[in-house]
Symmetry: C2
Subunit: 125 residues, 2 copies
Amino acid sequence: MNPNDLIRSRVLQYLSAIGAGTAADIAALYADDATVEDPVGSDIRAGRTAIEEFYGALSGADCDAELLTLRVSGNTAAFGFRVTTRTPDQVIVVEPIDIMTFDDDAQITSMRAIWGPDDLTIKNR
Amino acid sequence: MNPNDLIRSRVLQYLSAIGAGTAADIAALYADDATVEDPVGSDIRAGRTAIEEFYGALSGADCDAELLTLRVSGNTAAFGFRVTTRTPDQVIVVEPIDIMTFDDDAQITSMRAIWGPDDLTIKNR
């Protein structure tokens, strides 16, 4: 697989893990010393342990993630996606654009999520 | 205007300058020591003079730029857009996602454009 296709497939794997995987599954897609800044402007989480903790908040939630648009250039991907989370009372939809960089094995070396309150909708069920 | 709205309006100003402005108009939206990496993975152009040179390639072309999607978080914007360029013989359409950072005056401090050959279409007129 060429590097560009490998990055594309890794992004799809990431979105699939958000929907169906554990925090450890998601963290395993990251390099050991990767960083996560979500949303951009918040504290940067560094290292796979901190990253697994971050995704732990999602664990057990009924949610899925759908790719809306994806661009890849060099070692960098930018993608718009929709995460839908269902609680007993509410449906929460957020549509960020994430920027990811990758190493030669297409492990994620950094993720920066760009979204704000305007990109979040909450509906009662 | 709050910082978020100021960044949004600057992105629209940038797209409008791509369509109707000169290279100097576009470069004036950048901070003095800004950098441009377009596409990501290519050489980084540093400083407003080098940036004006870069946009000089567009000058005089019949083109317009349309915003498709925009996210803002902290000092960073990510936006998908479509640039349509018309030559006597061809219509060239490219749809990148750009990542821009801004200073406190919403001058652009960096731009990284994420797109590849798959995001470019060329049609004969």
